[in-house]
Amino acid sequence: MNVTITVNGQRHALDLDPRVTLLDALRDHIGLTGSKKGCDHGQCGACTVLVEGRRINACLSLAVMHDGEAVTTVEGLAEGGPSPLQQAFVDHDGMQCGYCTPGQICSATAMLDELRAGWPSHVSADLEGAVELSHDELSERMSGNLCRCSCYPGINAAITEVNQRTGDEKEAAQ
């Protein structure tokens, strides 16, 4: 089947077996292997990418379902230099083996947007209004991304730092 997907700003016209997942399209057909296949079942989050700005498990989605859509992968986040989250993951050692890292970073990127949009989570005391990124909020919102090396302390420190910095910058701008 023919499908056109824009990945990291670049248009890819592909002729794909309809069984090809979005993840395999990225890895095997477009050559972007930053997105990882950890389970192929939507259980680990290593394949997390942004589709139209929202985080999804690319392994649970067929490529042909995304005709005309825009996908951002971990490589896209690094265009023009590492993103603040990418650099913070290095600084706080939010990784060991690195295999879950692209998924963690894509997930965290979207998660911070969700936070700014005021989306509540399972642990939010209040369903309306602004959400503070407490330890519980952060770990709840990032629990779809497994890390077997168990770098959660570093991952959380990295995300917290970037969230704080973004907040400070906003405040300064105001």
Binding site: E75, C97, C149, S150, N156
Partner: protein, 732 residues
């Protein structure tokens, strides 16, 4: 030139601390970090050579003789290039450092889930579909799958006894006599096992998800029938291992055979469900622990008797008793190991084989002893620290348990703890704290490394792997320290058998073994630089790319004058391991909340204090300890492979059903390291840190549960159903 060293005796000179660059031991970012964070690090399955085909493993659904009646039909399916049923395919992954092929064959499935065919097709989707269409008929046979239901083997070399434990138990003021169990567990590394094989008619090149390449090369060569010289392995990035990638695996052998038959590159990635069964699990254990003590809690006797399991023809037996040999003093001792030969999937090394489960259960028994004797759990351990190895009388190379216990207790605020259980309540939650000691044997194995030095900088080369442990980071720091170079002038190239053979990653040996080889290579280069200047190596100060000797200071580039130097380091284990008992030590503290409505346990905080010789990179060492402690949370609360009672297959063979800790399971963790230089650990005086953090951690959590709510759990993990049953038993 090669600088070769055997670790035979105490390190007296401490040349490491004479170095001037000042980077070793700092809190330093891993040089591979940015590649991982941006998706540029390439793992085994990720290169895509021209003409690459896709293989998919098909497995036996049951135990017994295997027949595939529709091979020809599958061979005719769209895109299918090969259906491989080759006697050289392997039954399960090789054990760590096996150095030869594991058990091979596809006609007899010895466990449910054994790979029995590889289907290769043009695309992944075609291969998967065709593999699913392959009919597999099993002429079933009865095979034991319950470790309790067979007469176990008792390997002679794994039984020890001193004194008379039965008499000590009879005469003791205080005793503990209880059985503890841990379930099968899985490494569950995030990267599934994967191989990409290329064959040019003479040479086999395989990118694999592997931990110990020099052994893996021989294992693969032996499996497929090639001279090891004709095999090159590449594993520059490995997505976690934790023991599951120690030995050559089914994907590697099948991919190699298919590539050799088809003359095209073949990639085989194990499906996540395969990963749980085709590679090795941590054996379940049954541990009967007996402790005899005087009224002050001083041990007079200890017994640790265990039952573990494995498949026929597997030499590995979970070394549960490894730390019990030296952890605590007691005159009367009995350690006993039994192995049940059963047909569950193969057992092998998983992070800290032995101590991960052995120390963890033993530390629960010690908590029970503390309660029975009315002695504080920290104090109880302090009273039982041996002066020398309790069995052999050999001295310890270095022993920091006392400091770990006292400094950890101080940092955690242990003194504020009420002695009795069930003292703190918040709504439905009981709050309590617990602790455990940590022990892990320390080993050094043979390793080699090379450093090439020019005026532009240095390149470290070894076939060592970095499975997330931080090899890139520490080897860069060691070379930078020895050669007086800024870190960014040292490149580290790993994971290629064309490089000198390092130790590989496993058993926490990497840092001290390959690290020492790099240290020796660096020292060899220092000697060569000194020779160019006509001075002794000890007269050199190397810092920031400058060479200072006496009153002269030159740039390294000027001293080398365009020359490229090569230093080769080669370390061997020596008599040190005979002369002294060497281990790493630590202490775990945990605070938990236990719901008496649901039986749920939530972690509140954890503290770990560890001594592992010189810490080479504070940041990556800390991450290793976080990882170990969080594995302890999994072991204590959620992780258990469930075997089907009929055929032993793993029922919960995926990441939705096998519960590794997620972000929300993990509280704030605090890690501190004790300053230690172990003089018996080679010129860097560094020991392994990758496994110590898990040893005992789960015990601290179960002890905290007891302190919180009074329920004593002896079966891991403490899932809500078990906690509720234990709470019910208390009020019954």
């Amino acid at each position: 030139m090669t600088y070769e060293m055997k670790i035979d005796s105490r390190e007296e000179t401490n040349r490491t601390d004479d170095m001037a660059q000042g980077v070793l031991g700092t809190d330093s970012a891993r040089p591979d970090g940015i590649l991982k964070a941006t998706g540029a690090a390439t793992y085994a399955a990720e290169p895509h050579p021209e003409g690459m085909l896709h293989g998919f493993l098909r497995r036996a659904p049951r135990i017994g003789q295997v027949r595939c009646p529709n091979l020809d039909e599958v061979r005719g399916m769209a895109g299918v290039r090969l259906v491989l049923r080759d006697a050289r395919m392997v039954r399960n992954a090789a054990q760590g450092m096996a150095n030869e092929a594991p058990v091979q064959g596809v006609d007899e499935a010895e466990y449910a889930g054994q790979p029995i065919a590889l289907v290769v097709a043009d695309s992944f989707e075609q291969a998967r579909h065709a593999a699913q269409r392959l009919k597999v008929e099993i002429d079933g046979r009865d095979a034991p799958v319950d470790p309790q239901a067979v007469t176990p083997e008792e390997p002679d070399d794994k039984q020890t006894a001193q004194g008379d434990l039965d008499a000590a138990m009879r005469d003791a003021a205080v005793t503990v006599d209880a059985v503890y169990t841990t379930p099968s567990m899985n490494s569950a590394a995030m990267e599934p096992h994967a191989a990409l094989a290329e064959w040019d008619g003479e040479q086999l090149t395989l990118r694999g998800a592997l931990q110990m390449l020099k052994f893996n090369r021989n294992e693969l060569a032996d499996s497929v029938g090639l001279d090891p010289e004709k095999v090159r392995l590449l594993a520059p990035y490995v997505g976690g291992g934790f023991g599951s990638k120690l030995g050559i695996s089914a994907d590697c052998v099948a991919a190699a055979l298919a590539a050799m038959e088809l003359g095209q590159p073949v990639r085989v990635v194990q499906h996540r469900r395969n990963v749980f069964e085709v590679n090795t699990r941590r054996s379940e254990t049954r541990q009967h622990i007996r402790l005899a003590a005087d009224s002050e809690g001083r041990l007079t006797g200890l017994g640790h008797e265990t039952l573990v399991s494995n498949l026929p023809q597997e030499s590995f037996a979970e070394p549960v008793l490894q730390a019990s040999h030296f952890a605590y003093a007691a005159a009367n001792r009995r350690l006993k190991m039994q192995v049940a030969r059963i047909n569950r999937p193969a057992a092998g090394s998983v992070r800290a084989p032995g101590e991960a489960v052995g120390v963890t259960a033993f530390e629960v028994a010690m908590d029970e002893l503390a309660a029975a004797a009315g002695v504080d759990p920290v104090e109880l351990r302090l009273r039982n620290i041996p002066d020398t190895d309790p069995e052999s009388g050999k001295p310890f190379s270095s022993h920091r348990l006392r400091e770990a216990l006292t400094k950890g207790a101080e940092r955690f605020g242990w003194a504020d703890r009420p002695a009795a259980p069930r003292q703190r309540r918040e709504g439905e939650w009981w709050i309590g704290t617990g602790m455990a000691a940590a022990f892990r044997v320390n080993m050094i194995i043979e390793a080699e490394a090379r450093i090439r030095l020019t005026g532009e900088g240095a390149t470290v080369e070894t076939d060592m792997t970095d499975i997330g442990t931080g090899s890139y980071a520490i080897l860069q720091l060691i070379a930078a320290e020895l050669l007086g170079l800024p870190q960014d002038q040292v490149t580290v190239s790993l994971g290629d058998t064309a490089h000198p053979p390092g130790s590989g990653s496993g058993g926490s040996v990497g840092a001290a073994s390959t690290g020492t080889a790099v240290w020796l290579a660096g020292m060899e280069l220092r000697r060569q630089i000194a020779a160019r200047l006509g001075c002794d190596e000890t007269d050199l100060t190397l810092k920031d790319g400058a060479v200072v000797q006496g009153n002269t200071r030159q740039s390294l580039g000027d001293v080398l004058a365009g020359a490229a130097l090569t230093g080769h380091g080669h370390v061997h284990p020596g008599e040190a391991s005979e002369k002294v008992r060497q281990a790493t030590f630590g202490a775990h503290f945990a605070e938990v909340a236990v719901s008496d409505v649901t039986g749920e346990v939530r972690m509140r905080r954890m503290q770990g204090t560890f001594a592992a010789g010189r810490i080479l990179n504070l940041r990556t060492a800390r991450s290793q300890c976080h990882g170990g402690m969080i594995w302890g949370i999994g072991m204590a609360l959620t992780e258990a492979l469930t075997h089907d009672r009929r055929d032993g297959h793993v029922v919960n063979r995926d990441l939705a059903e096998y519960h590794v800790p997620v972000n929300a399971d993990v509280p704030k963790l605090d890690v501190q390291f004790l300053e230690e230089l172990d003089p018996w650990a080679g010129p860097m005086q560094a020991k392994g840190i990758g496994e110590l953090g898990i040893c005992g951690a789960g015990g601290a959590i179960l002890n905290a549960i007891h302190h919180a709510c009074g329920a004593r759990l002896r079966d891991f993990p403490a899932t809500p159903d078990r906690v509720l049953a234990a709470l019910d038993a208390l009020s019954a």
